[in-house]
Amino acid sequence: MQIKRKTNFENFKVAKKLSPEALIKKVEKSGLMGRGGANFPTGLKWKMSRPAKYLICNADESEPGRFKDKFVLDNNPEIVIEGINIAMYALSTKQCFFYLREEFKKYKEKLEKIIKEKSKYKITIVIGAGSYICGEETAILNSIEGKRAETRHKPPYPSERGLYDEKTCVNNIETLARIPLIFEDDFDNELTLFSVSGDVQSPGVYEERQGITLKYLAEKVGAIDPYAIFFGASGGCIPFQQDLILSYKEMEKTGNFFQTGIMFFNNEKSVPDICRSIIQFFNEENCGKCLPCREGNFRLLQLFQVILKRKWTKEEFQIIQDLIDFVPNGSQCGLGKSSTIALKSAIKYFKNEFDKLIE
């Protein structure tokens, strides 16, 4: 795995020989895309943020079924710090905040040791308070400022007005870990960490190229009777298809949202049940700011709890469908907009399962 490679800050030395502008050009040319989930070109983000007052390393990983940030922290924290150093040089930044989710606080000591020994720049570790929404690039700003973890309206984007209203660059930890690798001869911008879980023989983190087929991945991880695939909680779901190509571009065509957290389910599982867990997740993890997301998900959960006791009436199922369309349209941030993707695709692809639950 490239991500495990020990580069010993050698690539930082190489990077410093370039001017910041040339360095950003190199990152742009490398084709590296952000690994936080939005697939935004990293070089472009840097270009827009420069000169940034702050860099934020986002390790608030909390998407269900995704655990690759933890994998990086376990296996190669040095390369992340090196990546941050390169980024701070390129962005002319003096201060970085390393945002760890509350459950990752055990890594704090280890990271601080590396920072003390190796880092040329000031990197401050910030521990979150355990909120999913803090992974969103504007909620993380509020959280660091000590404010309530609510998302901010975009525009302005963090690159224009971010932390303490200053220009800020927010990068995912895997993105930053891949920065030093750009200087390696065998760098491959398609290599991505996939987190695989569910009904498989060997769940875990796999480094694969984007563009592999679902069949390839299923065989590799030993999927058992794959039936439904969920891409995290916010990515949507599809029935198992052998020839599905796993990449942002290809997945967009199916109306789903690609997430590198891939959950396999066999046919003993009920898709509506999984959907209920997902609604429950969003019902607890939204920030509470926008009414459509907060109330919409709450009412959806209420309706999904109905089937634990009895079947839905036709009217109830109609309200569910209405709410699924309603929630993303009225919400301001990515969470609200993606909170019903899974439900929508589940009803589309597993209609027979839902039909059985209607009177």
């Binding site: 969003f282 939204n286 920030c287 509470g288 926008c290 009414l291």
Partner: protein
């Protein structure tokens, strides 16, 4: 920029939001959490429109070149209908909700499908405000007011996601928080989850008691706002109709608090002169605003000696009604009930203060807000618009124009300077309208020459600016001679008890009406009001005299709550 809105091509030069553009062009987009004076977060989703085929909220998204905006179509209506369902269960009652649907141009819906969910206990611990969050739609306008504009932080959010609530800071009862009672939260609450503690029903009962002599007094800022509650446009003065309606409701007498304001000016101008002469406790800071008094007692008790010791106008007037008026009319003061109709929620607590009574008799027995006053009048099926104009009762005579302008921020200062100038020089100030003291900014400074002395003045409204000037005082205590502070944005015309909606635009219109009233009056300076001269001659003696001090002045105490 060229923007298409509902098929109409419009050229726009200045950046604005979609909602602002629509409003300017006479297109009504429904809103709930939007307030023109506050930051828009697009929280409620009610104002969605279709932009280039995508639904988005219009209150917080700016227009851009080439935008094609559709403010209503089948898809938008469907979206709004579901939104109405989700909001509907939060309203105080369905009637209010239906009224909102209609007023805000929302599509009508059949029956409400959802039930309100678990909420907090009703909190009526405060004298001023009731918080009943079962009606809360979490629009957050109250928090913006309390935190950003008033810097009081008595309320905040708690919890997240579906467990998010607006609640009192640190989970305390409202009375135990730093709440100063300004009521700005209630003024912006769209669902009445936060409202004033009503007492008009109790008054309604008392009005039937023939043994009681019930007197209403109305603040200068009521007459320029009350009409709005009856469908009139902002800025129309309804003084005469208001007096007539209150008489019909059953008040024995209807007095004008302007007279009390004149008294305040006589006392406060004398106080200013005395402090300047002794060079003691300067700057003098006004004390008419009870929310401001609560604020300084809570947050800056070390500056209490700078406050004027004057009671606020309606309290002064109340004290005089229970003594001078009672003596003159030979009515037992215990049978007199004074009801102050005020633009304010904080005056409710003010009137309960121990200091605001003489010999166990309260100066003022009830305070009701402009909104409550409208409810009281409406409960008698009286339409204010149709009332004949009547004069205020005149046992002590009408007030001067100097009292009338108390309604706006800067008014107290202006009136006090008119009178102080006369007291100091024996002459009237050449230009009676102190234009330098007027304006909309929440922090205004001016210097005025009286005789050979230059006075440095500051006029403040909204408490964030009060905080600002007190921080300045910490560094340079002697920069100013006289400071006027009002807690509510715009002064009393923007008070927490005023009709909804209240916005900067509406406040401007109300202010204009009250300055016009000043101009129309025969006497524009308190010290020229012959009735004021008479009261001092017959009863009070002189300003700051023994009886004046007893009846018209008060004292303050440190009410800072430790740990906050």
């Amino acid at each position: 920029m060229l923007v298409t809105i509902d098929g109409k091509k419009i050229k726009v030069n200045k950046k604005c939001t979609i909602l602002e553009l629509a409003t300017k062009n006479g297109i009504k987009i429904p809103t709930l959490c939007y307030h023109p004076d506050l930051r828009s977060d697009g929280k409620c989703g009610v104002c969605v429109v279709e932009v280039n085929g995508k639904l988005m909220t219009s209150c917080n998204n700016d227009i851009s070149d080439g935008m094609i905006i559709q403010t209503t179509n089948e898809r938008i209506i469907k979206q709004r209908k579901i939104n109405a369902q989700l909001v509907g269960c939060n309203f105080e009652d369905e009637e209010e909700f239906r009224k909102w649907l209609k007023l805000s141009n929302m599509p009508d819906i059949d029956e409400l499908k959802f039930k309100p969910h678990a909420s907090q206990e009703l909190d009526d611990s405060s004298h001023d405000i009731v918080m009943d969050f079962k009606n809360c739609v979490l629009c957050g306008r109250c928090i913006q007011k309390c935190r950003d504009i008033q810097t009081v932080n008595a309320i905040c959010y708690k919890g997240r996601a579906n467990a998010t609530v607006v609640t009192k800071s640190l989970g305390k009862k409202l009375i135990d928080t730093n709440c100063v009672g300004c009521g700005q939260c209630s003024l912006v609450c769209p669902t009445n989850a936060i409202r004033e503690k009503e007492s008009y029903k109790e008054i309604k009962k008392l009005l039937k008691d023939p043994k009681k002599h019930i007197i209403a007094q109305t603040a200068p800022s009521i007459r320029v706002a009350l009409g709005e509650e009856f469908g009139l446009e902002a800025g129309i003065s309804v003084t005469g109709q208001m007096v007539s309606a209150l008489k019909k409701v059953g008040f024995k007498k209807v007095f004008d608090t302007n007279f009390g304001a004149d008294l305040t000016i006589m006392e406060e101008a004398s106080e200013l002169i005395e402090r300047i002469r002794k060079n003691k406790d300067l700057p003098l800071i006004t004390s008419c605003c009870p929310a401001w008094i609560n604020f300084i007692e809570t947050f800056y008790p070390e500056y209490l000696n700078h406050l004027s010791s004057c009671k606020s106008p309606h309290q002064m007037f109340g004290a005089l009604i229970k003594t001078y008026y009672a003596q003159k009319t030979k009515i037992n003061p215990r049978d007199i009930i004074v009801v102050s109709i005020m633009p304010c929620t904080a005056k409710k607590y003010e009137s309960c203060r121990e200091e605001m009574s003489v010999g166990g008799i309260r100066d003022v027995d009830f305070v009701i807000t402009t909104r409550e006053c409208a409810k009281l009048i409406k409960s008698f099926n009286i339409d204010l618009k149709l009332e004949k104009k009547m004069q205020f009762d005149n046992p002590m005579g009408p007030g001067s124009g100097g009292g009338a302008i108390f309604a706006s921020s800067g008014g107290v200062m202006e009136s006090a300077i008119r009178t102080a100038h006369y007291f100091l020089t024996g002459k009237e100030y050449s230009a009676i309208d102190f234009k330098v003291l007027r304006g909309n900014s929440g922090f205004r400074e001016a210097s005025i020459k009286i005789g050979n002395k230059t006075l440095n003045l500051a006029i403040i409204h909204s408490l964030k600016n009060a905080r600002k000037i007190l921080e300045i005082l910490k560094k340079t205590r002697h920069k100013y001679h006289f400071i006027e502070i009002m807690a509510c944005p715009g002064g009393c015309i923007g008070g927490g008890g005023q009709p909804k909606p209240t916005s900067k635009e509406i406040i401007k219109k109300r202010a204009k009406a009250s300055y016009e009233e000043d101009k129309s009056l025969e006497f524009r300076q308190a010290h020229k009001n012959p009735n004021i001269i008479k009261v001092y001659m017959e009863f009070l003696g002189k300003p700051l005299g023994k009886l004046s001090k007893k009846l018209l002045h008060t004292k303050y105490s440190d009410k800072s709550k430790c740990g906050l």
